[in-house]
Symmetry: C2
Subunit: 253 residues, 2 copies
DNA sequence: CGTTCTTTTGATGATGCTCAACTGGGGTGG
DNA sequence: CCACCCCAGTTGAGCATCATCAAAAGAACG
């Protein structure tokens, strides 16, 4: 629990700096909040960012009802966010990766509306929202980009609504894979080969399907030679066909 | 089509003012963008609001791909927004009513991501977004409340994801009715008796169900004496039970 | 190497979809 | 005014998709 962080202690002289979040040094600054900011303004943003915080696998970043103080920029790793209904069942509302912002749903009521949990050992930058709001008055570019990020979250959720309301199982799953691929591509990773950070169960939950359905779909895609699958390692062998399935324009079924 | 607005012409001296959108005079200002603004700041917001625009039933406010210039505050009436997939099928992503803001999804790419269509004769206030952004620098309260509204849209969509991903048909429909009721209540209308502004088909589309399912659910609720239904007129006879069904905590099935 | 958790695969079944026919209200024109 | 049509909605019958239940196989971990 509260063990004395052995690794960090050993390297204190170096890590004191490394622990200070620095946007300009961060590989995600082209995607994240500081996108498009001048060097000087990035410094001002750096100045308000609290600390870099490690969240271990399955660690909770925040829970429903927690008071809202910070937004979180993911520096490293993956998260899931989920709603909980009255019966305690969860519905995963998103998987987030480095460069994405967590906590925007909490602004409306000053309380978090979902749980955020790390899918693997991760790191986030704490952004105190009141201080960010002060900065908005001085850096219009920052404000504008923040609005873009919130807006992006809205459109992302709308496509999930399309997925859940309109698509059949196969199409949902293909859309899910294609979406992951494009996000890895935007981060400079291979869009065809990647590790799933989430379990089959989590995928199913997100897509409104059961774990068994996901498993069957994986087997089917494997048999059709659209995918190579090895546990959580995915290789998309025919991305074009997967895209067509996701779009619903696929002919050969 | 372009008939000379007989009614308004007769009253021109009065209606010249009425046509200028005025937040302080608008019955929605406690819910809408100007919420919590001082009299003076409300005037500044008034000053940038373009015009009050009438949108007839089935009229299009904007379409996917339209360049983004304005947000729209609904002054009167109801709208639906929907995504369109590659096969031309639509997925309704929301029903909006007076006091709600349309177009926030367009900020991210400067293009609208959905179509917005009036469900009945309606009126909106055009809010030029660049000018609104200028105002943000001068009225922090306005900025903060704008963030709350965007955030609210995010949480709204998350609950729809919960609905579509996790609930059975009966629960979805009950949740839909309960949601409508609470929004009418917030506007000072009866939360138990109201007109549906949308067709059965539109409800089904929104909830990821077919028109037949909606019809059957209505009949069932009617038979169980939870609802009185007359075409589009709804009376909730047992709101508590409907809430319980929506929450999934209902015992007697 | 046994224990536990995750995933796969199979068999069965229910929910909600599809297709089809029918009803009823509102508008139009004879 | 009535006949007719048209559209939205209702109701019924059969069926497909995906969920549920069950069991076995495979990975992970001490």
């Amino acid at each position: 629990m509260s063990q004395p962080l052995p690794f960090q202690d050993k390297h204190q002289p170096i890590n004191v700096n490394a622990l200070r979040a620095s946007c300009s040094a961060c590989s995600m600054h082209q995607l994240c909040l500081p996108m498009g900011l001048a060097e000087e303004d990035m410094g001002r943003l750096d100045a308000i960012i609290g600390r870099r915080r490690k969240v271990p696998r399955d660690g909770v970043l925040y829970r429903v009802g927690d008071p809202f103080t910070n937004l979180y920029a993911i520096r490293l790793g993956h998260f899931k966010t989920y709603q909980i209904n009255y019966n305690g069942e969860q519905q995963i509302t998103g998987f987030q990766m480095a460069g994405e912002l967590l906590g925007m749903d909490a602004i409306s009521t000053d309380r978090h509306h979902c749980d955020a949990v790390a899918l693997e050992d991760s790191e986030v930058c704490e952004i105190p929202f009141p201080r960010l709001e002060e900065l908005f008055g001085h850096i219009p570019t920052l404000l504008h980009h923040f609005h873009r990020m919130m807006s992006q979250e809205i459109t992302r959720e709308q496509s999930v609504m399309l997925l859940l309301g309109n698509m059949r199982a196969e199409q949902r799953f293909a859309a899910f894979l294609v979406n992951l691929a494009s996000r890895y591509a935007a981060r400079g990773y291979s869009p065809t080969t990647f590790q799933l950070r989430m379990s089959r169960e989590e995928i199913g939950n997100y897509l409104g399907l059961t774990i068994e359905s996901i498993s069957r779909l994986l087997s089917r895609f494997k048999k059709q030679e659209l995918l190579r699958v090895n546990n959580r390692e995915i290789e998309m062998l025919k991305p074009e066909i997967l895209k067509a399935i996701a779009a619903g324009t696929d002919q050969c079924k």
